[in-house]
Symmetry: C2
Amino acid sequence: MSTNLRIDGARLVSRLEALSRIGATPEGGCRRLALTDEDKQGRDWLLSQMQALGLDVKVDAIGNIVGILKGQQQGPAVILGSHIDTVGTGGRFDGALGVIAGVEVLAALRDAGLTPKRDMAVIAFTNEEGARFHPDMLGSYVWAGGMSVEAAHAEKDSEGVVLGAELNRIGYHGPEQPGFLKAHAYLELHIEQGPVLEGDGGGLGAVTGIQAICWLELTLRGRPSHAGTTPMAYRKDPGLAAARINIFANELTKTISGQLANSGVIRVEPGNVNVVPERVVMSLDLRNPNDAPLAETEAAVRKFCAELSERDGIEISFRDLARFPATPFAEELIAGMEASAAELGLPIRRMISGAGHDAQMMSRLCPTAMVFIPSIGGLSHNPAEFSTDEDMVKGANVLLSAAWRAANA
Amino acid sequence: MSTNLRIDGARLVSRLEALSRIGATPEGGCRRLALTDEDKQGRDWLLSQMQALGLDVKVDAIGNIVGILKGQQQGPAVILGSHIDTVGTGGRFDGALGVIAGVEVLAALRDAGLTPKRDMAVIAFTNEEGARFHPDMLGSYVWAGGMSVEAAHAEKDSEGVVLGAELNRIGYHGPEQPGFLKAHAYLELHIEQGPVLEGDGGGLGAVTGIQAICWLELTLRGRPSHAGTTPMAYRKDPGLAAARINIFANELTKTISGQLANSGVIRVEPGNVNVVPERVVMSLDLRNPNDAPLAETEAAVRKFCAELSERDGIEISFRDLARFPATPFAEELIAGMEASAAELGLPIRRMISGAGHDAQMMSRLCPTAMVFIPSIGGLSHNPAEFSTDEDMVKGANVLLSAAWRAANA
């Protein structure tokens, strides 16, 4: 690699600012829900940026936008990417940074007059957030062959609007077959969306994979009764059972390595001060970098619930909301991220990704890795989401170096 | 007392059936929300029953209906009563039984040609349930001087309809001043609304008083964060804090005599599977037959919350929703209930009332007591609320005997 090769930092920041004006919210964030008018404006802008760079720009049947820089030889491409859709109350960085950094990587090569050995490309994947259409990571999921184009087109938003119709309406139902560009490697720059890097001194993160996830919905049924006239011994209180399960799952995180647990949904019915609850619906979001300890956690929770049910007379039923195994990234690419950071004199640490990303889907197709930059305060999916210009440029330079390395290996 | 004096059981059951046809619901319950058309129909029916008995029927300015049987001497009256309004999904017995049993007590005396020494009366109090207008026990509260007629008239239901206007609309804004009939004693028959009597073999209950009550609303604020990207040590989870408080309050009931605790409201925000909660609103309904242990319980809960707040960084604020001291009933009347049951060969046990009743307000004015009959399955405020004909007649006979005793003492 030409070790003097660098991202044009000012241009990267300026491009991100330009994109963040599309769907800008009064709170300083962005609202570009997938396939809305704002998303279309963002796509149109991105397309024009790619075309101005001289990339070969293609759109596939699920609306993924692909900008290709031809290499010296035929064969699979080194793909960079992320997404430009946001959640309803999104920030300016999540997704957008990865796409723009990908564009800047190709721009830097063009500026330097360099042609990589392999083809290189940047992709903006459709509907990564899942805030409008299910599932999340839809565009990369379809690209990776996990879901058919037809099934994806039939998805409806909460108001019954059909995804395929929206793709046509905004003009992004393209002619290409998703996955048409074969992948040699996939690399993605993203904000961390958590507090670890900032808390650790603000360096970069070489992401080792995406942790395994198990989302459970528990429905607990007791017996509604009058909170003034029913002695404690007669009660069957599913609210109390939910409290015990929440605390139990939390305690497990202290003994099972890497384990996370959250109960974000707790709905109590009928929800009156003087009525002992009849029914509680609660969620458990369990994650672990490794599959085995996650399975151990889930089994322990289920055993605890069975005992609680037996002892306290609470009926407990389970429903799977989501379940994904751990996605380990490719060691040679993780090491490539570290080597690139070292060359640039930037501190970097290995870490797991707590959230899902398009990289998770792309890892079904090819060796994959990610680089994270710090999120100030750990905030994300929030108008106050923030990363510094300096960190964005650092992350993009690592992406550039690692991509160049992969494209010429 | 004429020890052969008995309630006409068949007539009592038939009158209760007649009233329960007014506002009857498909599920077998009743819906006679205060001052609605159904309540007016119930009132009209009750008025006609009282008039047919030859009672002197009066309506006061808050809509309380008073049927008076003149005694041999001037002076305060022995008053029987309860209410005929119901909750939205009410049963057939709550309140209605007490009013109809009062009517049957006076009817039994008339049938037997007996005139008590003191005046006797039966009152149907307005809006006892509090299901339409706040506060509950409004009619008896105004009668007892706890709230002015003007303030009560200004109360609005959840749709902004004014109580005074509704009283006029249904024709029950009467000319009498609430409390116009001075009280020598107040006696009320009611269903237990809990499982204690049925669980104890099905006898009657001589109610020793209404327990003290403390309703608290707690608002817990933590820090919202991503449940995948935020390490456990960085979280401030008010949902977990709420779980600990719920369990702590429940544990207190095992060590503080007579203590009850319920957390019937638990609202978690924002309520997403993958977001560590930001804010929880929870209620605590704490009750105890005695004021001192209730105060001890509340103090222990507040201390626990202060420690939790300090340790886990959760802000916790408190708001009083309701607070009433214990209302002990009059020993001579409680003993009178027991003596009457003994005369009739009926088992009776002393017990506290878990719920509020009009008797609670009347005890501000005069010696007061209640008799409870079993509620099958402990159900109340429910279409499936049920008490047997036999128990209703037993309860009414105890009321008759105790009332005759008080009216001639």
